[in-house]
């Protein structure tokens, strides 16, 4: 593993504070609005603020992970990928570094949402539940990191932000990250089940209901991860072959 490359990517990230701040701003603001509006409510026997906190944490990590892969489009646009092809770096490694970076990038939005949840909205959970919720939300970002890679190879550099923005808004709206699926009409709920966002929600929220991760949801999410990774791989292969 080339740690120098990952280190340089982290430095670039810290220099582009705009990206970092924006990734935390959206979920934080949404949490304060939705959480504030639904204080003292319950969803399926669970505190609504805890429920929304987990959902919006996923929204933050999902949007950041999709955006992370988008940087591939920008780097293709400036010709960095051609520069890399003059080095022994295998293209698959490059994608692996981008996925790892995406996972690192999802930590700040998750952290800010949990801190705000605990401090501003008085969310109280057992330590084990916190840990499972955080782990599910963080690893649940993997399929979206793969989706980001797809966007990075398909989108044009000047429209990649709009494309990934539209994608995560649709996923959040229809996947039940903004409006709890439990309160959706039947048809909307059926649609929600077709999105990977719904299944991350099911995985990461299940500890709130019964203190453990739901096996069925984990398996469906795993399926999504594999499927999106395969699509990413084929886009990436097509791009390399085009030369």
């Amino acid at each position: 593993m080339n740690t120098t490359y990952l280190r340089m990517e982290v430095r670039r990230l810290l220099r582009n504070r705009r990206v970092l701040i924006f990734s935390m701003l959206m979920p934080a603001i949404l949490l304060l609005i939705f959480g504030g509006l639904n204080k003292d409510q319950e969803i399926g026997g669970v505190s609504a603020t805890a429920y929304l906190m987990v959902s919006l944490g996923i929204f933050g990590s999902m949007s950041t992970a999709i955006g992370g892969g988008g940087s591939i489009a920008v780097e293709r646009g400036i010709g960095w990928n051609r520069q890399l092809r003059l080095t022994p770096l295998r293209p698959g490694r490059y994608v692996a570094i981008k996925v790892m970076l995406s996972l690192l990038m999802t930590l700040p939005p998750l952290l800010i949402v949990y801190v705000l949840g605990a401090v501003a909205l008085d969310v109280r959970l057992p330590a084990g539940t916190w840990a499972l919720v955080a782990l599910g939300s963080w690893l649940g970002a993997l399929p979206f990191a793969a989706l980001g890679v797809v966007v990075g190879y398909v989108a044009k550099p000047d429209s990649v932000q709009q494309v990934s923005g539209l994608l995560y808004m649709l996923l959040a709206a229809f996947g039940g990250l903004w409006v709890p699926v439990e309160t959706m009409p039947r048809l909307m709920r059926d649609v929600a089940e077709l999105t990977p966002a719904y299944w991350v929600g099911q995985v990461a929220r299940s500890p709130l209901f019964h203190g453990s991760l739901g096996v069925h949801a984990v398996l469906v999410l795993l399926g999504w991860t594999v499927a999106l990774a395969l699509v990413a791989l084929s886009r990436f292969r097509a791009d390399t072959a085009r030369a």
Partner: protein, 293 residues
């Protein structure tokens, strides 16, 4: 070292490289010269494996280009190679070094490329010429046996061009093989052992600078001769062509000595100058030859 056989590359209806054959041996410094659109950049893309040939093959060190690059044997500077704007000069060269198994020390390479004083500057704040030298440092850092440069001095001012080539000269003194594409004749003349002249995707001339100049053989006689009969002048022995320039005439000759004797015997020509033809004439002749055909 570099072997290109019957390379063909088409982009739609345009044939950028059209049956190109070229062999470059270890230790040679070769200029790929030709007008814009001759297929120089496409040839470089093909030999680096950045584009796939429609026909023919390219091998480096007897291997496919990608394998040679993976083994760190090739350093290249491309026009289209982009740099990450938010890294510093030292960081991007260090990153490139880390991607190669073996690498020279970064400070030494920065000094070689003449950018040691820019080490801590961000790429985004550099001029085009400075970025070009960063690309040069990135091409050198792996200590490659073969260096490929696509129009390396485009956008550099004359002083920077000179500095670039003197740095390059020190590198080639260590026995490296260099292939560079250029449309600057003086660079090809001054720095290459061998010039490969391309036109319309083919090699049309290949040899030392003096051999290429010889292709536009002959000399030009210029003389003042008011009221000259151009047809009669063109018929003199050794003369290929006669042109009028006001009171002066310009005779293009394949045998200037015979032409001169005949000119002096037959006319009152004065202010006579005889000049040999340079690489520029060869360039023009080779380029026009194709346009006429």
């Amino acid at each position: 070292m570099i072997v290109l056989r019957n390379l063909v590359k088409r982009y739609g209806a345009v044939t950028a490289v059209d049956g190109l054959n070229l062999e470059i041996r270890s230790g040679e410094v070769v200029a790929l010269l030709g007008p814009n659109g001759a297929g120089k950049s496409t040839t470089i893309d093909l030999l680096l494996g950045l584009a796939r040939p429609d026909e023919g093959s390219a091998t480096l060190f007897g291997m496919p280009p990608a394998t040679a690059i993976a083994r760190g044997k090739v350093g290249a500077l491309l026009q289209s190679g982009g740099l990450l704007p938010d890294l510093t000069v030292a960081e991007i060269v260090e990153l490139t070094a880390s991607l190669h198994g073996k690498a020279r020390p970064v400070p030494e390479v920065l000094r070689r490329a003449g950018i040691a004083d820019l080490a801590k500057r961000r790429i985004a704040g550099l001029s085009g010429g400075q970025q070009q030298r960063v690309r040069f440092a990135m091409a050198l850092v792996a200590d490659p046996e073969l260096i490929v440069l696509d129009e390396p001095t485009t956008g550099l001012d004359p002083e920077a061009r000179r500095a670039f080539w003197s740095a390059m000269h020190e590198e080639t003194a260590q026995g490296r093989t260099v292939l560079f594409a250029t449309h600057y004749l003086d660079e090809a003349d001054a720095y290459a052992d061998r010039i490969v002249f391309m036109r319309a995707g083919k090699v049309v001339a290949d040899g030392t600078a003096s051999q290429i100049k010889g292709l536009a053989a002959g000399r030009t006689i210029r003389a003042t001769l008011p009221g000259a009969d151009l047809a009669a002048l063109a018929a003199l022995p050794g003369v290929d062509q006669a042109e009028g320039r006001g009171e002066a005439v310009l005779l293009t000759c394949h045998d200037s000595a015979a032409a001169l004797r005949a000119l002096l015997a037959a006319t009152d020509a004065r202010d006579i100058e005889v000049t040999g033809r340079g690489l520029e004439d060869a360039f023009v002749a080779l380029t026009l030859e194709g346009a006429a055909a």
